[in-house]
Amino acid sequence: MISLTAVYVMWLREMKRFSRARSRVLGSLIMPLFFLAFLGLGFNRMPIPGIAPGVNYVKFLVPGIIGMTLLFSSTMQGLSVLWDREFGFLKEIMVAPVSRVSIALGRIAGGVTTSLIQALLILAVSVLLGFRAHNGLGLLAALGFMILISFTFIGLGLVFASRMKDMQGFGLVMNFLVFPLFFLSGAFYPLTNLPWAIRGLSYADPLTYGIDGLRAVLIQTHSFPVALDFLVLAGFAATMLFLGAYFFEKSESV
């Protein structure tokens, strides 16, 4: 049922496209880097309620910006089905004698790889800005959280791309879904500073648990127990992957 070759081919295609789109990749890293540099340096010496003493703002912000990078790049990867539909290549994929689940898995594998590369680049830059992970084990655990975040939002992108016929809905998804998910996630400030009604929404946002988990393992400050972060995020990731593959399977290819 699942063809490993097909998964590999889809992944390989993504790698080739990624390696040829350097300027675009660089462009997509600029925004998170600006946030990191200007917000981080600008607020660094300000006391912010809810942040544990001894944790400066740059340190607090880095996991948030990594989460942001993953959110945007992964959703875009999921939505890239729309580009394939627009440029006709989707038909070539859909008429191949392999299961659609394999195709979806290949896309997900490619998307996770490229998103992780971008997130790790951000992490590397933040090290230059003085960020240090707590320890090596934390770094490894952070990688796990990053993969789960990426899974979740590629799945989300796939769901929407499979339901949309053309590119027109793209802006809607970005403005009414991705940006709110980003702002609700507590990437910039502790959620305890939000009014309770909005905080409720934050608790429904998978990225909240992703970023809290990243903070827990990277800088050892968090609002939820790290096990809870992990379990909730893993649940979201599994659900979204299933839904993404399911809707892709059901989508009409022309």
Binding site: A6, Y8, A96, V254
Partner: protein, 329 residues
């Protein structure tokens, strides 16, 4: 065995019936053409046969496999060249072919050999390392035909293979298609709205209009239906009365009217023209021009559908424009 077998195939989109109870079969090795104006249902037929769309009702088998229930088996047996380019512009020509060959489960050695072969066949060996986004329209089409052949399909679907190509490239592609069919025994189903293309290439042609087959036969026999010569008279005056008059003549096989032009088929047309002119003038009408030719598929299409293919397309284009107008308002 038949390469394609279709029974009462129907495909509807919301309230539009794109393909309406179509039945036909294509024997192995045949070059079969679907001829009709844009919007006749040709592409939808191909999309159903190539498993991209589910049939609404009816049955279709390709290479002995049902297109609705055995999709993967059908997909393995067919190659498809779509009307719109379906290439990844960010990959090179060779990489596009590699992608395809791997998807069809071919081993490394076989892959390399077949890709070199098909690149040679469509004369793209020199440009294989260039990104496809740098290709011209003709090169893209050739690359797609090459791709459709890599896995040696039993049936190849070509949807408007020469649409938008210049005359020279078109002839080139005709040659490829013919040699594929003749030398490699590939069953080919192509759609076209070019009469000439259907006439030159196809063993048999189905004329499609409004989702239905209005005629299906060899080009020669389709033209024989009209019989003999086609004589067109451009007339000023009471055309309808004339038409009725001419239909009564025993040597006129078919007669139809199209604006001010009377089109008739008959044997030895060149000898009948004086008689037709005399008759017209006797009825007080004036003949402004006379035209005699052997029947073409265009005449056959006119005979079966009551309009020329160009007019049909113009009316489709008109309708589309109006719909776009509504959309923009």
């Amino acid at each position: 065995m038949d390469a394609i077998w279709v029974k009462d195939l129907t495909k509807t989109f919301k309230d539009v019936t794109a393909v309406d109870r179509v039945s036909f079969s294509v024997p192995e090795g045949e070059l079969f053409g679907l001829l009709g104006p844009n919007g006749a249902g040709k592409t939808t037929t191909i999309n159903v046969l190539s498993t991209l769309l589910h049939p609404t009702s009816g049955q279709a088998e390709v290479a002995g496999h049902d297109v609705a229930t055995s999709r993967d088996l059908v997909r393995k047996a067919i190659g498809v060249v779509f009307q719109e380019p379906a290439l990844d512009g960010k990959l090179t020509g060779r990489e596009n072919l590699e992608f395809h060959a791997m998807m069809y489960g071919m081993g490394k050695e076989e892959r390399r050999r077949r890709i070199d072969e098909v690149l040679g066949l469509v004369e793209l060996t020199d440009r294989a390392a260039a990104l496809v986004e740098k290709y011209s329209g003709g090169m893209k089409r050739r690359l797609e035909i090459a791709r459709g052949l890599i896995h040696r399909p039993r049936v190849l679907f070509l949807d408007e293979p020469t649409l938008g190509l210049d005359a020279q490239t078109r002839r080139h592609i005709w040659d490829y298609i013919k040699s594929l069919n003749r030398d490699h025994g590939v069953t080919i189903v192509l759609t076209t709205h070019y009469m000439e293309e259907a006439d030159i290439l196809c063993d048999r042609i189905a004329i499609m209009d409004h989702g239905r087959f209005v005629a299906l036969d060899t080009p020669a026999r389709l033209k024989d239906i009209l019989g003999g010569d086609v004589v067109s008279l451009e007339v000023e005056g009471a055309v309808d009365d004339l038409l009725a008059e001419m239909q009564k003549l025993e040597w006129v096989r078919t007669a139809s009217r199209h604006d001010g032009v009377l089109t008739m088929t008959m044997e030895k047309g060149e000898r009948r023209i004086p008689e037709l002119v005399t008759l017209t003038q006797a009825r007080g009408a004036i003949v402004t021009s006379v035209h005699l030719h052997r029947p073409s598929l265009e005449d056959v299409f006119l005979h079966f559908t009551g309009s020329t293919i160009r007019e049909r397309e113009a009316s489709v284009a008109e309708r589309n424009r109006m719909m776009m107008g509504f959309g923009r308002r």
